[in-house]
Each structure stands twice: as structure tokens, then as C-alpha cells.
Symmetry: C2
Subunit: 414 residues, 2 copies
């Protein structure tokens, strides 16, 4: 193994320059953000740019049948690489850091090693996975799901996205229908650098998050049907108001999240009344409930109690309830060894570090099915994400990329 | 005065035939409803048809500068007529009874008298007022407001409606820019027959409502601004969720209406969240509060307590509040003598009768400013109105029109 000392650091200017160059592909005018939905011409242009950087570093590039791109730096020995990465697709109103940082941070780590003339013991790979955001093709984290064997390639190819094209058609059109085998051979380990997309690190004054796992997620849509009536002429006792029941449910979701305590979260982010007029008791109310927890038993309790509350409140109001699950993922726990290494690397580099779960989904949760996995978070200013105003201070980006460098070298040394 | 006995009755078949004929002007396919927004070509066609019926009865027809049409049957003496009427414009998805019944019921009363060879002591007039619904031009009850001097004619002419035309332009275009003086000379009395548009008469088993007045109405729009955040990554304690405050407000409006008791009503009929996504704490919530009461002091208390609640709840959540009044009308009390006459006429004709306020606004509340005024309600099936499914049983329509006949004759005899 090549020796590795604390005097090796990534170049923040080079990394910021790459983040800026990638954000220039379909930038959102007047902002720092960009818009590159999966498998569009803009995504192709972003992929081409990132692949050109991988080529500049003489990496071994493989593209698989769902468009995942993995670039590998050879190690002293053969065998499965220690892998990092993330995604470069964005939501329609994306920021420049979400996903991109994990990919370009990995390229920066490899360029740092190359520049220092260091060959790692094991190979080190950096990849980007297709359609992590799910903004064009459902489900999200599609590329990493197929990568680990969670969905058959043919099934993925047949998914139709917004604008009517399939994943398979669009991969072929943009030239990213590769031939690398799927499911992929598991890496030796996987570490993903990502912005927090939440306010915790900034609010509590930490520079680095050592991720313990990903929260379980439950999304349910409820549709309540009552009786539309004139708001002036219908006495209160004769009403069947589905909007009222939706509102009572939203208040209960907050109460329940507080009662169950951290890390339980609960959100009613979407409410639609019909006909939605000032002087009409609505006929229907449709709303969503998003609840998340790292402990699946508590998440199941939250789901059960919310459903019970809504059914009881609807019954009292004389309103009927229909519901459908929009999404349900069990919590994912990351590998204790990788978590320890992230925490230790951050401390060794002099950064404050907090062990925390991720509230959002990431490709790392798919990789966790097949190899020891962890994540490194850096703060998001005001917790803003999926928004052109997304921002992370350069000093935090630098800290995160140096932690990634250190953890990858540690893992590659074994 | 010509004698008038209980053996004189309106012809329900003739009245239903006119209601059906008027509903055939821009009918809503597959329903019993129709759509004739004020001063459109469809409204003109409806006006022309109703005026042709007035002409058939040799009535003296006057059209004023805001398009109100009044047809008068001469009495034994000159002087101000006893007047009835309503409106023939509809909401976009209108029923065939709302408004139309009061106008065609008045024509039916006059034809009944003509057929029986009866000349009333005082003149009897039937009118229809322009833009009662307010669906095209704001405010609603525009024609009757100008009729009683509540708005200057020039101001009314300058009102721009949906599709960009003004009242004055459209009156001229459809040929209903008349010259009868405004404000009009007050009638001797005014009585309006109307469907209830609520469920009370049907639910409680009454045939006739003797209206005591019109509820005061308060409409307020609240806009709450918080902090949009990721629903998975933002701990509950760091949230500023305007949607939650809106929902708590809606629950409070219901509680308050129940606490203040009948006839207080309160409705949150419109809620809009932005960005309205399952996994995003909203940035803003806009919602409306509609509260009504016959007692202005209670209505003022309701307005005050709702505002206080919202300000307190917003403050606790760290959300800012802006509000604007969309409408505010004080309660209107009808004339005790006219109310008594409606009740007595209903009883004399063998109908069950309930004294009640109107929860909706009507032209009668404008006429009440200048002459003794009352209203007659007939039941609305399930309280449905402003909807093609609006329905009143023929026997109830017959009962209401006969009460109108009786009350008009009583008033015209004095």
C-alpha cells in the first residue's frame, strides 16, 4: 500500500470550477442553479462533460444498460473497487450541489491522488447513477436500484416518463445504453458525499455529518369525499366538510410527530379542495401525508395512528375516505465500520462531526444492499435544496471532499 | 279594490313551462341547468324571451341605464307599484330556478290576475335586475344596488368584468342600455320569491320560508408566509409551516361557529399551498374564511376572534400573516309587516312555514333600503344550488308562487 499522510488535500478551486462548469449546462437564468432532467439532451451534455473529465484522468470507464457510468482508477491489486459517487440529474429547479458534489468530489479525490503520484492499494471508482431524482422517470434512485439488482433491466427500460418516452428509448437516443453487466459486481465499499438538504448541521454548528442511515419513508394520499354546499345557507350541523377533516388531519400529523419525538417527522405538503371557492363547502379534499423515521416500528405506529385518526374524524363529519400509498421505503442502516471511519476522518481533519440519519433518499441506500456503505454530509445553507438557491460554503465543500479522500484511502488500504 | 278570494291560484304548468323554456337558453347538456352570465349573448337571449312574455301581458315595460327591466300592470290607482322580481343571470354552472323563479313567478302571478279579470288596487310590477350573481362583474347584486341608489350609474358602467369588457359597453352591445331614471322611484313594497339554496326547509319538513332578513357576510383571505423546506430533512422544531397554521385556522373556524351557535356559520372553502408537493413544507398558504350571522355584533366577534387565533398560531409557528377583506355586508332585517303577511298567507294556503334568515345575498336586501321588503323561500332539494342539479319539487314551486300571489294582492290592496 502506498503511504497516505494528512498533507494530501483536494483542490477546492478545481472542484468549484467543475461544479460551476457543470451548472452551466442548462443554467437557470439569474440563479446559481440548473435544470437537467434524466436522459434529456441537457443530461446528455452533463454526462458528456463529466465523462470527458474521467477520460482526462485516464480512468477505466464502464457504462451499463441503465446508463450508470463508473470510472475506475487502478489499485495495487485487482478486485472490487472502493466506490464513491452520486448522480448528476437534477429536479426541474435544481441547485448545483445536489448529487453533482458527490460525483465531482470523487473525481477531485482521484485527481488529487494522481497529482500526488499515489496509487491506492485497492482500485477506487467514482460513478454517477441514472435518474436519482425521479423527476422524469418513477421510481427515483432508478439507476442505483438496477445496479444492485433491485429491478430487472428490461423492466427499467419499459418505464415511461413525462413527455411519453421510455427509459430504454432515451438511453439509446442520447448514447448511454451501455453493455456493462447488471446487476453490477458489488464494490468493496461505497461512500457518498452529499449536501444535507436540511438545516440541522448549519443550525447546530457542525461541518460534517457522519450518516448512520436513511430514514424510512411513507407517503400516503388521502381523498375525502363529503357534500358540497352553500357556505351561507348550510347550518353547521348539516355539513359534511372534507376540507375540515383534511385540516384536522394536518394538525394531528404535527401533534403526533412531536409526541413520537425526534427523529420522527410528519408533513402535509399538498392539499387540494374542490371546487375550492370562498363560499362553497368543498365536495372533496385530497391531501398527502409524508412521515419518516429511522425506526421502522415507530414509522409503522405513525402510519397506523394517522389512518385511525383520519377514519375517526371522517366518520364524525360524515365524510368518506379513500387512500393510496404513493411510496414506502423501510429505513436503511449504514455500515458501522464506514460510519466510524467517516467520523474519525472528520475529527482527524479538525472538523466538528455529527452522527445523523438522512431524511432524504440517496443512491447510497441502494448500494447498502450489496456492500458496506456510508455517507458524508456537508451543511446546506438554511436547509434549502431542490431550488436554485441551494448553497454550501466553499469551506464546507472542501472539508467534505477531504473527508471523502481520507475515508476512500482508508477503505482502499484494507 | 277588486275582491280576491282563495279560489284564485297560479297555473303550475304554465310556470314550469316558462322555467323550462328559459332554461333552454344555453342549457348545460345532459342536465336541467343552464349558463347565462350577465350581459352575454345568452343573457340577451334570456332577457328577450322574458320581455316577450311581459309584452304578451301588455305590461308597461321600462329599462334603466344599468339594464334592469321592470314590467308594470296598472292598478285601480296610480302611484308606486307593489313590486316583485329577482334576476335571470346565472353562475357558469347554474340551475334553472335560482333567480328565474322569482321573475317568472311574478309574471305568472300577473297572468293569473289577467286571466281572472282582476285589476289590483295598486299597480303590481315584476322586474329582473342585472348581474345579481356577480359571476361576470363585481360586485354581485349590481343592478339592484344601482336601482336603489347605492352606486352611481357611471361607476357601474365603468366596471370591467371577466373577458375585459365594461358593463356600459356590454349593455349597449346587447341593446339593454335603457333610459328609465336611476335611482328608481321606490316601490310601495318589494317581495321576492326564491329557492332556499340551502337544506333547512327540506331537512325540517317546511314548505315555505318567511324570510326575516339576510345574514351579514364577511369574507377574508389570509396569506401566510413561512419557510419552504424538505419534508424529510427538516426537524419539526425548525419548521415554519404556513399550511399547518391554515389548517389549525380551519379547525378553529368550525369550533368557533359551534361555540357561537346558530345562526353563526363559518367556512374555509379555499386553501392553496405553494409549492403543494408531498415532500416539501410549503412556503405559503392562502385560504379564505367565510363567516355569516344575522347579528352584526356576533359577526364582529367572530371576525375578531378568528383574526386573533390566526395571528397567535402564526406567531407560534414563526409564520407571517397578511389578510384582505374580499367582502363585508352588514345583516339586513326585512319589514315586520311583510314578514307577517308572508307567514299568514302561507298558513292560509295550508302550508307549513318557518321564519328564517337568508344565508345568501339577494336583490331584496338592496330593495330593503328603500321600501318595505320581504322574501318567500321554497325548499331546495339537498340544499344544492349554483349547480345544474339544483331542484325544487313542482308542488313547492306552486306553493311558493301562490304565496307570492296572495302577498302581492294583500300589499296591493292597501
Amino acid at each position: 500500500m502506498t503511504s497516505f499522510g494528512p498533507d494530501i488535500h483536494i483542490s477546492i478551486n478545481r472542484l468549484l470550477a467543475r461544479l460551476a462548469a457543470l451548472a452551466e449546462i442548462n443554467p437557470i437564468e439569474g440563479t446559481a442553479g440548473c435544470s437537467r432532467l434524466a436522459l434529456t439532451d441537457h443530461d446528455k451534455a452533463g454526462r458528456d462533460l463529466v465523462v470527458s473529465w474521467m477520460r482526462d484522468l485516464d480512468l477505466d470507464i464502464s457504462i451499463d444498460g441503465v446508463g450508470n457510468v463508473v470510472a475506475t482508477m487502478a489499485g495495487e491489486i485487482d478486485g472490487p473497487p472502493v466506490m464513491c459517487g452520486s448522480h448528476i440529474d437534477t429536479v426541474p429547479t435544481g441547485g448545483r450541489y445536489d448529487g453533482n458534489l458527490g460525483v465531482l468530489g470523487g473525481i477531485e479525490v482521484i485527481e488529487t491522488l494522481r497529482t500526488a503520484g499515489i496509487t491506492p492499494h485497492r482500485p477506487i471508482a467514482v460513478g454517477f447513477f441514472t435518474d436519482e431524482e425521479g423527476a422524469r422517470f418513477q421510481p427515483d434512485m432508478l439507476g442505483s436500484l438496477v445496479y444492485v439488482g433491485g429491478m430487472a433491466l428490461e423492466e427499467a427500460h419499459d418505464i415511461t416518463g413525462i413527455w411519453g418516452k421510455t427509459v430504454g428509448e432515451e438511453l439509446e437516443r442520447i448514447g448511454y445504453l451501455g453493455t456493462a453487466p447488471l446487476p453490477a459486481a458489488p464494490p468493496a465499499a461505497y461512500v457518498e458525499l452529499h449536501i444535507e438538504q436540511g438545516p440541522v448541521l448549519e443550525t447546530e454548528g457542525f461541518t460534517i455529518g457522519a450518516l448512520t442511515g436513511v430514514q424510512g419513508i411513507s407517503w400516503t394520499e388521502f381523498t375525502l369525499t363529503g357534500q358540497s354546499n352553500h357556505a351561507g345557507t348550510t347550518p353547521m350541523a348539516l355539513r359534511h366538510d372534507p376540507g375540515l377533516v383534511a385540516c384536522r388531519a394536518a394538525a394531528f400529523v404535527r401533534e403526533l410527530a412531536l409526541e413520537l419525538g425526534h427523529p420522527q417527522v410528519g408533513t402535509v405538503g399538498r392539499i387540494e379542495l374542490d371546487p375550492n371557492l370562498v363560499n362553497v363547502v368543498p365536495a372533496t379534499a385530497t391531501f398527502t401525508v409524508d412521515v419518516r423515521n429511522t425506526d421502522n416500528s415507530v414509522l409503522l405506529e405513525a402510519e397506523r395512528r394517522i389512518t385511525e385518526f383520519i377514519e375517526r374524524a371522517a366518520d364524525e363529519e360524515g365524510v368518506s375516505v379513500a387512500s393510496r400509498k404513493l411510496a414506502r421505503f423501510d429505513p436503511v442502516a449504514f455500515d458501522p465500520t464506514v460510519i466510524d471511519k467517516v467520523e474519525a476522518a472528520a475529527k482527524a481533519l479538525g472538523h466538528s462531526v455529527k452522527r445523523m440519519p438522512s431524511g432524504a433518499g440517496h443512491d447510497a441506500q441502494m448500494l447498502a444492499r450489496v456492500c458496506p456503505t456510508g455517507m458524508i454530509f456537508v451543511p446546506s445553507h438554511k436547509g434549502i435544496s431542490h431550488n436554485p438557491a441551494e448553497h454550501t460554503d466553499p469551506s464546507d465543500i472542501e472539508a467534505g471532499a477531504n473527508v471523502l479522500l481520507s475515508v476512500l484511502m482508508e477503505l482502499a488500504a484494507q
